[in-house]
Symmetry: C4
């Protein structure tokens, strides 16, 4: 489907100039604005996604809130809103180290602020309330009988799905333009609609760390989630590099 051979061939390599002009000096206002947008977007995505309690709307609110905030952020910061996205594009050579570190810090700060919003705006919720707080990924939401390695496998598979969409739609040229935020959001809906019953469907280290920091929940399993997200980031980057080549910042780029 969507067979366009010219697109496909141009898609085989990434245009270095396009990528290099993709970020600004860390001291520029443009980059400061990008950091602010990553902070606000991750905060609001965490807030909306954490507070949904209706079972039917859980995947939808999470996926659509992600889509909507990526739409808001896309033309400014690129709309990562997820350390796994930033880490994957970093190791693939599409984003510089220091920029990536600052993005991830602001994403974590945004998720923490989002969890604080949850604590402030939802009756009966308080800081430090432990497992079971809204938005937490802890033993209370892990499906019955799921082993730690199965938890790991689910999160790898789901995060890999989300990152594959990010690469194919948003990093590859040609991708799918303004379809990217929608497709990324729908990938979260699809994953949360099935894997949500087993892992809660985090797919994003910030979504794990924000509530953990505020509510002290899920401290025993957080590392499983985050390691899974990092492995998925490596996997998605490896496949993209094999298919379409490394990014211009990669040491392997001349290969």
């Amino acid at each position: 489907m969507a067979d366009n051979p010219k697109q496909r061939h141009r898609g085989a390599h990434v245009d270095a100039e396009t990528v290099f002009s993709n970020y600004q000096a860390i001291t520029s206002k443009t980059f400061l604005v990008s950091l602010m947008v990553e902070f606000i977007g991750t905060m609001m995505f965490t807030f909306l996604g954490s507070t949904v309690t209706d079972k039917v709307f859980g995947p939808w609110v999470n996926g659509l809130a992600l889509a909507v905030w990526v739409y808001s952020a896309a033309n400014i910061s690129g709309g990562h809103l997820n350390p796994a996205v930033t880490f994957s594009t970093l190791i693939c050579g599409f984003y510089p180290v220091l920029h990536s570190v600052l993005y991830v810090i602001l994403q974590f700060c945004g998720a923490i602020m989002g969890a604080l919003l949850v604590a402030g705006l939802v009756p009966g919720v308080s800081v430090g309330m432990g497992d079971g707080a809204p938005g937490c990924f802890d033993s209370t939401i892990i499906g019955k009988g799921l082993s730690h390695s199965q938890l790991f496998g689910w999160e790898v598979g789901m995060t890999f799905t989300l990152l594959s969409v990010v690469y194919a739609c948003g990093v590859a040229k040609p991708g799918h333009g303004s379809f990217t935020p929608l497709a990324v959001g729908l990938s979260l809906v699809a994953c949360a609609g099935t894997g949500g019953q087993w892992t809660g469907a985090a797919l994003n280290p910030a979504r794990v760390v924000g509530p953990l920091a505020v509510f002290k929940c899920g401290t025993d399993v957080a590392y499983i989630y985050i390691l899974a997200h990092l492995l998925a980031a490596v996997l998605a980057c490896s496949i993209f590099a094999f298919v379409s080549g490394w990014g211009p910042l990669s040491p392997f780029q001349s290969m």
Copy 2:
């Protein structure tokens, strides 16, 4: 995601000529038609959104009805259908004062007519029936234990989400073109899917005032909703102005 550096840089400033040609003299047929479209769109959005009773379809009908009527209105009136959108674009310098006032008046009239349609077409509903009438934002739909300041906070956060999408997709150049109505509608689905359980998810002063005027409901809390929408309008405008600059009608524009 959706990384396009050229878009991003061009997006950093708003093209004054584009914005100035964006409206016509108040006495022109074009502006009269725009007023009519704002009236019809807000009426139908209020009517459809107010009459849904199924819990699962509440957020969907509201979000999709908004998307659909913004599609119908977008190329004619800009598809505001919400005084918070008009107010925010006014204070940010994208829309002139008198035009904005007339838009808001017609939006309120449309919402009132929409509530009258509800009264006429839904069995058992009558004008002046008080709290609990369809489409009302009153104490019967506010979540248990929610304080007035929490109600205020939820409506600010949700309206800010909707307005951020409006700015990023519909006001910024480049935005996301014909994705705008869909993204705006989906932002309402996401917000109503979670905050709906706490506030009913108004996000729009006309949606509050229309049923209030027809059914005499929610008179004690309406000001909280509307102040929240106005604060969100100021917030969203402030951030947009910081990121992309003031509109051409703003006194701060030369800054």
Copy 3:
């Protein structure tokens, strides 16, 4: 939202040449193919939309099946799939009389064939089984306490919503291009999500007539539905003509 002043001004008038080249001689293969596509599309839309029994999926299956078959038909026949669409574009001067008559006949034939598919593929359903057969609009699905004039009003309002999207997205130039089938389908989801509880949400004379002809159901109320669809067709055309001008085939066109 989606403010593009150039679009808006170009949208104020319809390009006569574009419209005139929009159809072919009735004896041409192109028109024969269009008739076939209208038949198949209306058949499959009726079949899928009639067989859904799950309450949650009713509006979605109907709206998405419509979107999907309009995508399939759009570039060939224009994807009307609804006599109300054909009738409205006819009276507005966008489609010639004889072509319209043949479209409507094929749409009715398609809906009848779709209802026959229902009879053949759903266990327990048989031709002539009367009220309550799948896809019927009869007294068994009309909401409790709804008067005939309220039924009429609901169908006018919902069909007017659908037709407004058709005009704004698919007839107006510029419309919203390939968003049109999606927006039209989502308008049906939104309407069926609320009005479905009262009228079943037909919005299309063929959807009424197909099951009626096959199952002999709803014979006492069918005229209310169809008259409502025709009035909505007149309303939507009138507003579009006021906003953007008559079509090139209209006797009023030179006004």
Copy 4:
């Protein structure tokens, strides 16, 4: 709707050069990459679609997972992910025989690997567990009272719907560009939302064969599903060829 006469006329014939440049030598890295992408996409689509247990999310997870993986694969392999798509484009002259055979093999391998992922990641599921395993199309999911010929009819009708969208949006020029993956996914949502209650809504031989091979389920009915998919492939190709002409590889092409 979406009336664009220029599109329509250009759509009447398929551009041979475009199609011929659409694939690469079987020994090329480009084709190897396409095979890998078909494998991964079908694997992940099968895995996500098979594990959903919530009745409300069944059609959504399947349709959105398909949409999302077609987005990921579209610009590389064309995003078939379904032997019925490959077979139909083969017999219509849009894809060469050997390429098609390899695609189908990799799709079946991907679906088998997807079913193995299900066995590994879902507690209580084991290889060879027989009918009722996740993702199986067997007697436990076939609707009560449905005859084998009705089962066959439903799968033909639903697969024909999906393939019509593939042809109209993804093969025809002009199609609907980056709307194709979304429209294809939504066609699966619509079909699964109604026919799912009767057949489980396979629409894809790989989705039948993958779980069958891993869980030994549905061995008595699998041939009905697959024959239905093949007949739908022939039907959709026939109609497309009648409407828009054969593909450049068809022996009938000069007709």
